[in-house]
Point group: C2
Chain length 210, copies 2
DNA sequence: TGATATTTGTGTTTATTTGCACAATACACT
DNA sequence: AGTGTATTGTGCAAATAAACACAAATATCA
């Protein structure tokens, strides 16, 4: 294990959830042991890369045998801090927000939507999934009370920056932004983007070359 | 411009839609000219990186002035092949599929949903947005007829691989996969993944280190 | 006009990331 | 026990990506 103070590169952190997802899938299929070679085949990575990635965090495998799946899952969950359940707020209950609220896959991956906000008075206090929609006017108050540190931002593009600012002032430390716009936040706040059109445009670049 | 036969690295192609998105935003705000420095500030990239990235495709700026926004937008649209409209199929009309069908932002970014499929006979032939849901039994036939090359895969996890196989056999060349599973496709087919939990887990890694 | 400010595109350098290859270890089987 | 096969973790090399830094071009303005 590389045990100096250098931070582990982001590109490696990005692959860890992919490894965890695939290992969970293998576990679900009843598998108990795997190897860097098999995992690499399934994910399209080289075996060497998988071994090297894992080696940043410790020694998890056994020579000649490979990796015990349930053990590696537990280790990855520790590393990614998802051996507990993080509370999440969904801000904006449009089509995407609703879809996220109804999605049942978060719990087993370490997350639980715990509050849902909208600014539309026709939606406020109405049910959305197992929630009652809160008024976005109470955003800061509720997020602080509930100590919610992660938000999924699903408001219309033109309001994304303004709502992001409020999330930051409410103490949110990580934002998953579904609005198709880059938002500016202080350095200590993490932002990731989900914008299908950017993925599609990446692919059309290659489709156009054929 | 770097004009040898080396393919342009994927990491650069990934940034081009981000540049395009921000430039469109600036254009919408009435701006006409920008610089690598300003664009970098807004996006969190270094100016040098932006200039180097663009230099792979040609010369778009003017020394002392910067970039004319509308011109650079047009050039990026050409590069990414979104100066035309690509037909897209949505496969699986659950919560996410519905949200995509109702999303109005695709058209101006080069895409148009043109067919929508589900296997649930209670949904088939029912309306979804401006569409009538087609029976997934007719998937191959319709995709070939319509020459649809791009699909957004929004079926339940356990059916994702099987449906992906059918998309490939129907001639689809690019899949945007919303199912939380890695799918295997032939080398000539592009796949990108949208799985919110992987992004969240990446962020909790860092949150846990604070 | 000429002096000063900007800003690009790119050759070079530095840093990061990936891949290679092999000793060390474990297992299976005779 | 011994032989053959599988697999890990890692030092080192190669490949890739990012940053630096500067000549050349443009704009501004006294």
């Amino acid at each position: 294990m590389e045990d100096n103070k250098k931070p582990i590169p982001k590109v490696i952190i990005q692959r860890m959830p992919i490894y965890l997802r695939e290992l969970s899938q293998m576990d679900f299929q009843g598998r108990t042991v795997t190897s860097s070679h098999e995992l690499g085949d399934r994910l399209g990575f080289s075996p060497a890369q998988i071994r090297k990635d894992l080696s940043h965090f410790g020694v998890f495998g056994k020579q000649g045998t490979g990796y015990e799946i349930s053990h590696l899952i537990a280790q990855l969950q520790d590393i990614l801090e998802v051996n507990r359940v993080w509370k999440i707020a969904v801000v904006g209950v449009g089509d995407i927000g609703s879809a996220l609220v109804h999605y049942t896959g978060f719990q087993k991956r370490g997350f639980e939507i715990s509050r849902v906000f909208d600014n539309d008075q026709n939606k406020v206090h109405q049910p959305a999934g197992r929630f009652v929609i809160d008024d976005i006017a109470d955003l800061e108050k509720i997020l602080k009370e509930e100590k919610i540190e992660i938000a999924m931002l699903t408001v219309p593009t033109q309001h994304a920056q303004e709502v992001a600012d409020r999330l930051v002032s409410a103490g949110v430390k990580a934002i998953l932004n579904y609005a198709a716009i880059t938002i500016n936040v202080p350095e200590h706040v993490l932002v990731e983007y989900i914008d299908p059109a950017t993925y599609l445009q990446m692919m059309t670049y290659y489709l156009g070359k054929e």
